[in-house]
C-alpha cells in the first residue's frame, strides 16, 4: 500500500517535472512580456506593462515579417496540400510493385536537410530563369515564389503522409458507386472523395502552415525581398533582444491555445450530438423536437475555451485603460534613490581609505597595486552582460573599483561599466 502511494506520488512528480520542462520556458517567456525592464526577464518584477505589445505592433520589420510569413504560409498550404493529395492518390493507385520505391522517393525530401533544399531550390530556379533568358527581377527569382516552392518540396511530403493515412481507410467502392450512379470522375472526386478527405485535408493544411511559419533554414536561402518572421527574428536577435519578442511569443501561445481548445470543444460537441441523435426516436427526429445538448454541457474544452476567451477580453480591456507610467516612475525614483545612497556610501568609504592611506603612506602603496590589476580586469568583462550595467546604477562593481587608480589594468577604465554609467563621481574622486 505504501509502495503504491509512493509510486503514484513519483508519477505525479515526474509529470510535474515533465510538463515544467515542456512548458516552463514558454510560461517564463510569456511572463517577461508583461515586465517593464527592457531586457526580457521575470525577476526582479518591476511593473506590469503592456508597452511591449505596442512596441511589437509598432515594429515595421516584425509586422512585415508576419505578413510575409502569412503569404508564404498560404501559398505553401495550397501548393503542398494539393501536391500531397496528388501524391497520396498516386500511392494508392500505383502498380503495387513500384509502391515501395515510389514511397521512398516521395518521402526523401523529409530526410534531406532543409539547408540543402534551400540551396538547391535557389540554384535550380536560377538555372531555369537563365535558360528562359529572364532577368534577376523575373517572377522565377521572386523571393515569395522561391520560398513557397522551396518549403513545399518537403512540406508536401508531410501532407502526403497525413493524407495517405486517411486515404487508406477509403473504400474505392464509394467512387465506383458514384460513377455507377452517373457521376463523372470529377464529380465523384468532388462529391465523394473530397468530403471524405476533408478532416485530413484540414490537418494537413494546419500542419503545412505551421511548418512553413516556423521554417528558417530553407527560407534563409530563398527569401530575397520577402523576409519572413523567422528571418526577421533571427536578424533582430543578433542586435539584442527585447520583450517585444516575448510579446509576440505570448500572442502565438495564446492563439495556439485558442485553436486547440476550439478544436477539442468542437470534436466533443460532435460526439455529443451524434449520441443524442442515436438515442432519438423517429418521431423526435421527424418533428424537429430533438433537443440537442447545449454547447457547454459536459464539454470541458468548451468551458475552458469560454474562460480563456473571457480572460483575454479582460486582459485586453485592462491593457487599454491601464497605464504603468506611475509605477515605472516610482521604480525609477526608487532606483535613483538607491543609487544615490550607494554613491554616498562609496564616497564615505573612499574618504575613510584615503585617510588611512595618508597615514600609512610610503610602504603600503606598492603592495596594493598588484591585486587590483586582476580585479580590475574581472570587473571589466563581467559587467558587460550585467543587465543593470546600462540602467544607471553602479551596483555591479562597487567593490572591484576600490583601486582603479594608476591605470594599472592596461586598458585603463575602458571596460569599466561605470565608465558609461554617467556618474563621474569616482573618477573625479579617484585620485
Amino acid at each position: 500500500m505504501k509502495n503504491f502511494t509512493f509510486m503514484r506520488l513519483s508519477l505525479w512528480v515526474y509529470l510535474a517535472i515533465f510538463f515544467a520542462y515542456l512548458l516552463g520556458p514558454l510560461v517564463i517567456m510569456s511572463a517577461t512580456a508583461f515586465n517593464s525592464p527592457s531586457f526580457p526577464r521575470m525577476t526582479p518584477w518591476e511593473c506590469l506593462t503592456f508597452e511591449w505589445f505596442s512596441a511589437l505592433f509598432q515594429d515595421e520589420r516584425i509586422l512585415n515579417g508576419i505578413w510575409n510569413s502569412i503569404l508564404v504560409g498560404a501559398g505553401t498550404v495550397v501548393l503542398s496540400v494539393a501536391m500531397g493529395l496528388a501524391g497520396a492518390l498516386m500511392l494508392t493507385q500505383i502498380w503495387p510493385k513500384l509502391r515501395a520505391t515510389y514511397y521512398t522517393v516521395i518521402i526523401a525530401p523529409i530526410l534531406i536537410p532543409g539547408v540543402v533544399l534551400g540551396i538547391s531550390t535557389l540554384v535550380f530556379w536560377d538555372r531555369i530563369n537563365r535558360m528562359l533568358g529572364l532577368g534577376a527581377d523575373s517572377f522565377l527569382s521572386n523571393g515569395l515564389f522561391l520560398t513557397i516552392i522551396g518549403q513545399s518540396t518537403f512540406i508536401a511530403s508531410y501532407c502526403m503522409l497525413v493524407l495517405v493515412a486517411r486515404l487508406q481507410r477509403y473504400d474505392i467502392a464509394l467512387t465506383e458507386a458514384a460513377l455507377d450512379l452517373g457521376a463523372t470522375h470529377a464529380q465523384a472526386f468532388r462529391k465523394v472523395l473530397l468530403p471524405f478527405m476533408r478532416p485530413a485535408l484540414a490537418s494537413a493544411a494546419v500542419l503545412a502552415f505551421l511548418a512553413s511559419f516556423e521554417n528558417y533554414n530553407t527560407t534563409t536561402f530563398t527569401f530575397g525581398e520577402y523576409p519572413t518572421l523567422t528571418i526577421e527574428l533571427a536578424q533582430k536577435v543578433r542586435y539584442g533582444i527585447t520583450p517585444a519578442i516575448s510579446a509576440l511569443a505570448f500572442i502565438i501561445v495564446v492563439l495556439t491555445v485558442f485553436a486547440a481548445l476550439f478544436n477539442e470543444a468542437s470534436i466533443r460537441r460532435k460526439q455529443l450530438v451524434a449520441e443524442a441523435r442515436k438515442k432519438a426516436t423517429v418521431e423526435e427526429l421527424e418533428s424537429g423536437k430533438l433537443r440537442l445538448p447545449g454547447f457547454l454541457s459536459s464539454n470541458a474544452a468548451a468551458v475552458a475555451l469560454v474562460v480563456v476567451a473571457c480572460a483575454t477580453v479582460a486582459v485586453v480591456g485592462t491593457a487599454t485603460v491601464y497605464s504603468p507610467a506611475q509605477c515605472i516612475a516610482d521604480v525609477q525614483e526608487q532606483k535613483r534613490l538607491e543609487t544615490e545612497e550607494r554613491i554616498q556610501e562609496l564616497r564615505r568609504q573612499r574618504e575613510l581609505r584615503r585617510q588611512q592611506q595618508l597615514e600609512e603612506q610610503g610602504d603600503a602603496a606598492p603592495a596594493q597595486t598588484a591585486p587590483s590589476t586582476g580585479s580590475g580586469n574581472n570587473s571589466g568583462f563581467g559587467g558587460v552582460f550585467a543587465p543593470g550595467s546600462l540602467s544607471g546604477d553602479g551596483e555591479a562593481a562597487p567593490e572591484a573599483e576600490q583601486e582603479p587608480q594608476g591605470n594599472s589594468s592596461g586598458f585603463g577604465n575602458i571596460f569599466d561599466p561605470n565608465a558609461l554609467s554617467g556618474d563621474g563621481e569616482d573618477s573625479g574622486s579617484g585620485n
Binding site: L181, G182, Q187, K191, L285
Partner: protein, 370 residues
Amino acid sequence: MSAGVGVNLENLWIRFGDFVAVRDANVNINGGDFFSFLGPSGCGKTTILRAVSGFLEPSDGKVLIGGNDMKGIGPNKRPTALIFQNLALFPLMKIWENITFSMEIKGASAKERRKRADELLDMIALPGQGDKLPSELSGGQRQRVAIARALCAEPDVLLLDEPLSALDLKLRQHMRTELREIQQRVGITFIYITHDQGEALTMSDNIAVMKAGVIDQIGDGKTIYNDPSTAFAASFVGENNVFRGKVKRIMGEEALIQTNRSGELVARISSANQGRMKEGDAAMMFIRPEAFALAPAGASGDHFVTAKVNHEEFEGNVFNIFMEGDGGKELKVSIPNLGQSFEDHTGQNITLEYETKNAVIVPAGELAAE
C-alpha cells in the same frame, strides 16, 4: 409490366494476365427477368457483373444491353445500377442525400430530391428516416437504402453483388422475399450474384450456374435442381447423392448404369445429355436424399440400393439416415417425419428404393467442393 431491357453476353472472355476469369460466356437475359449467377466464390460471377456495369472491359466478346454494344461506354453512361457487396453507401451523406445522389449529379434541386427520397423511403418501408446517417441504420435498413439509391437512378438493369451475404439468416430470408417483390413492382431486369443456392432458387426466374469461369448450365430453378446438365451443377445446387459408374445400356431416355458399389441401377439421362451418352461412358448418377423411400428388406432390382447405416439424425421434419456411400462420401437419405415410429438402424443394412424418373444421369465430371 413493360418488357424491360435485356442483357446479352456474347462469347465473353475476361482475362487478368494469364488467368482466365470468364471463359466464353454466352448468356441471354430477358428484359424484366430476375436472373441469378450462382457459383462458388472465385468462379468469375462478380467479374461478369463488373463487365456488365462497365468497370471492366471484356478481353473478348460483347456485352449488349438492350441490344446495344456497350464497348467503350463507361459505368456512368450505362443504364445499369450496381448494388455493391458492402453496399458502399456514402458515409458522410444523410440517407436522403444518399438515395438521390444520382439526381444531384444531374443538378436537381434539393426540394425535388427530398420529395423523391421520401417516395422511395416509403417504398422501402423506412419513412421518416431520411435525415439519419448510414451508420445510424441497421444492416437490413442500409440494404434497403442501397436498393432505393440504385432505383432512384432509374436504371434499366439492376445489378446486385451478393447484397445479402452480410446479413444474418432471418434478415436474409426476409430480404429475399422483399427483393423479389420490389423487382416485380418496378419490373426492371435484376441480375443477381450469389453463392447461396437458396437465394438463387427462391428469387430467380433463371439461373446460370458457374464453375471456374465457365457457365455450366442456364435454366430456371426447377430445371437446375431437377435436371442438372453437369455433375457440378447437380452437386452444387442442393444436396445430392452421387453414384459413379459406367453406362451399360441406353434405353431410350433412361440408361442402365453399372455402379461401383451398388450394382446396376436405372436412371433418367438428363435432358441436356440426351443422345450424347454412349455405352461404356463414365457416368454419374445423382439421387436427392428426399427421393429415396425405405423398401422391404431383401428387395433387389435396378432401382434398389442396399447399404450399411453409419448413423442417424432426427431433424424434426425429417429423419436423416447416413449410409456408407460411394467414393468416401456418405449417402444421405431424408425420410419425411409423418409421425410414424422410427427405429434405429445404426449398423444394419437397409434397402432403399427410388423412382427412376427422380434419379438423373450426367457424364462423369468434377463435383462441387463441400
